[in-house]
């Protein structure tokens, strides 16, 4: 997965609990993304970052926060998890040479 790691791989939360998903890259790229993938919905962009210290909203940002304190890491936070946030979350980095995105292995989240 092109030097993109995601932690954890799987997590079960109760409604109202909080957690942070970590995405780490070893390729020094500026652009990083968080997507969620749901059956029948395809991949939808939650938040993205164009560089250290910057973040921006994507298509479905509500209920999520992000931070990019270090260039290599992009964190996705759920402050108060809801069952609607049950999904598979993918982090991606953008390779400017190929003008495409490379994805991590995913985090499967179940909110009960």
């Amino acid at each position: 997965n092109a030097g993109v790691t995601q932690t954890p791989k799987f997590r079960v939360l109760k409604t109202g609990q909080s957690m942070t998903l970590l995405c780490a890259q070893d390729m020094n790229h500026e652009y990083m993304y968080w997507y969620r993938q749901d059956p029948g919905m395809g991949l939808r962009l939650i938040h993205y970052s164009v560089g250290e210290g910057t973040t921006a909203k994507g298509e479905v940002p509500d209920g999520y926060n992000v931070s990019r304190l270090k260039k290599q890491n992009f964190l996705l936070g759920l402050e108060s998890a809801a069952p609607s946030q049950t999904s598979v979350y993918f982090c991606a980095i953008r390779d400017p040479a190929m003008e495409t995105q490379y994805f991590g292995p995913g985090t499967r989240l179940l909110v009960l």
């Binding site: 997965n1 395809g42 190929m98 003008e99 495409t100 490379y102």
Partner: protein
């Protein structure tokens, strides 16, 4: 509004039976069209980038083509290991993904 539609949703082939997957799109200012392969439980894996109508890219049994309104992913003499979900994405101002075509190749 930028939009991507993939068809069919699912495709079942016999080994060696060639076919094509379709990706229809509307986007203002196409910067690129991308094909990905996704295996169950894994992240999408990049296959091709196409930039302009008439462009073609090949990799093993896969060939991607692009027109002004759609892209095709042709699979020639597929093998069971080609079974996966194939995703199409287009980039105008942002990257928009289709819902994918789930391909199953039976021996």
């Amino acid at each position: 509004e930028d939009q991507v539609t993939q068809s069919p949703e699912a495709l079942r082939l016999q080994e060696g039976e060639s076919s094509s997957l379709n990706c229809s799109y509307t986007v203002s200012g196409l910067r690129g069209l991308f094909w990905y392969r996704q295996d169950p439980g894994k992240g999408p894996e990049f296959l091709f980038t196409l930039y302009s109508a008439g462009e073609e890219k090949e990799k093993e049994r896969l060939k991607a083509t692009l027109t002004k309104k759609e892209s095709f992913l042709h699979i020639t003499a597929p093998k069971p290991e080609d079974s996966a979900t194939y995703l199409c994405a287009v980039e105008g101002g942002k990257l928009i993904f289709g819902q994918g075509t789930e391909l199953s190749v039976k021996p």
